[in-house]
Point group: C2
Chain length 334, copies 2
Amino acid sequence: MKLTDVGEFDMIDQLAKIARESCPPSAVSRQNLTIGIGDDAAAWQNESGRTLATTDCLIEGIHFTKAITDWHDLGWKALAVNFSDIAAMGGHPRYALVTLGLPEETSTEDVLQFYTGMAELANRYETAIIGGDVSAAPAVFINLAVTGRAGKHLLTRNMARPGDVVAVTGSLGGAAGGLRILQAHRKPSEIGKALCEAFLRPCPRLEEGTLLVAEGVRCAIDLSDGLATDLKRICQQSSVGAVVEVAMVPLPPMLTALFGTEALALALGGGEDYELLFTAPIKTVEQVAAKAPCPVTIIGRVTTENPGKLNLISPDGQDFTLDNQGWQHFAHRT
Amino acid sequence: MKLTDVGEFDMIDQLAKIARESCPPSAVSRQNLTIGIGDDAAAWQNESGRTLATTDCLIEGIHFTKAITDWHDLGWKALAVNFSDIAAMGGHPRYALVTLGLPEETSTEDVLQFYTGMAELANRYETAIIGGDVSAAPAVFINLAVTGRAGKHLLTRNMARPGDVVAVTGSLGGAAGGLRILQAHRKPSEIGKALCEAFLRPCPRLEEGTLLVAEGVRCAIDLSDGLATDLKRICQQSSVGAVVEVAMVPLPPMLTALFGTEALALALGGGEDYELLFTAPIKTVEQVAAKAPCPVTIIGRVTTENPGKLNLISPDGQDFTLDNQGWQHFAHRT
């Protein structure tokens, strides 16, 4: 059977089972493990607190093309997508390990630019790049592994409770819109530039993740694969349903200006926004919104009905159907 | 300038500089950092001890081909090469993050076999596989990041001292010999099988690394790129010279039987043996040898002369010249 027959998510379920069973229950590593495969980052307990660890790759031709993304932005983004996972756990990044697989014809200036872009973001969040691996490769392959420190409690995908509202930081669909503009090789208009920036240089919501912890939020995920896919993950892992009123989903104004009625589909299914999606009692979310450095918008609620399912509601109260349910590697594309 | 003009090692020096300067000196992450880029693993201090972290990739067409290595062995080896870095610091592995970039036509059975091979070794050393990333890719790309706990002190590359002797665990050249047999697509003879095994399923010297710490050894490296290259790293980082008597380098008996006079070149320049190379006063090395679960052989000594340089001596007392000085990515091949 091929990967395209099972898709990324089923494959991961099977691999997680082998991984779980591989470590003896008596092992210190297993006893100290708080969160294994299945959340934004793994977490384990030390005498002195909890360590977080996550890894994410960017592969040429899959996640990026050199025609669209320059090396400086690529460095920034490679680190940002890992930081976003730490943010979604409510933690602080500390250390990064960097693997670069590079075709032989790669220029040294490009590699230095990559590191400079990464260092710019690392510096902002006081994270040290402490090691890595550099290898020849048939295409550009980038992998980062980032460790961090957890806050006083973790934000996890399995803590949504019926009665919670569903909220997001920032706005959605910008990155997907930006990618469309870049793929069309158009010189972006002034209003298109912000969307391109959202795709090329996402800002991990680390301050916001810390704020969520401080205000008592328990459930969060970062939006990497699109709202529909990522909210469904929360529903499945929390055994709850969710209703989202699509009219409440915050869109960047320029997204609607440039993409018209298509803007909503980009926001719901586009992915790569790296905003935080979280659930909590409405009062908690209002406190977060009052203190957050970015807009925070309530877009729906958590329900007991239809556990594991997401229900999108149109402004007229009808079910809203989304053709593209978000990104999945090895999925059949139609 | 292309990567092939500067080579892997010069490139890493330049990247390490950017990495070091990127994190503010006042940052907690930097203040707690004991070892950054430049050793087998990075290390940082917690209230409760020291954490080690390392990352290593295996790329199809560069590090392996599917014609030679099956998926089960590939899983074992991907973890083993990372464990070897932890062993070379004298630590214990605890947690592993796994990234797989896979062509769409990859079969699910192969991926499960990969995980099973990895789990087999993880289980042996009580290490938990705690997360990862799975992505489509144009070629098979594997990256692991492993964290561990340090022993009561670290084994580092910069602690060789004049007067130390140079020693190795096990024997050298087996992996390079095994690769030659496999590349020739010959069905290995009974005596060739052990060499193939050395290449396909290296055993990280974790017990030996712990023993080195217990006996007071301070300086070690794992042999991934070949004795000549890796000992030179110790010489450079310790600002010492080293003399190796090539006749003392331990070879697997079947290596000489199969490769004759070429066996020595495989042992000195071949790489991928994942044995530990270390230096210490002779008395310490004798104590290690008496307790080690594998052979330990003294092959040379550390000198004040020619700092940063390695001097290979033939049985007749003449300088021994090695054509292949070990593996370097992006190096000009002749």
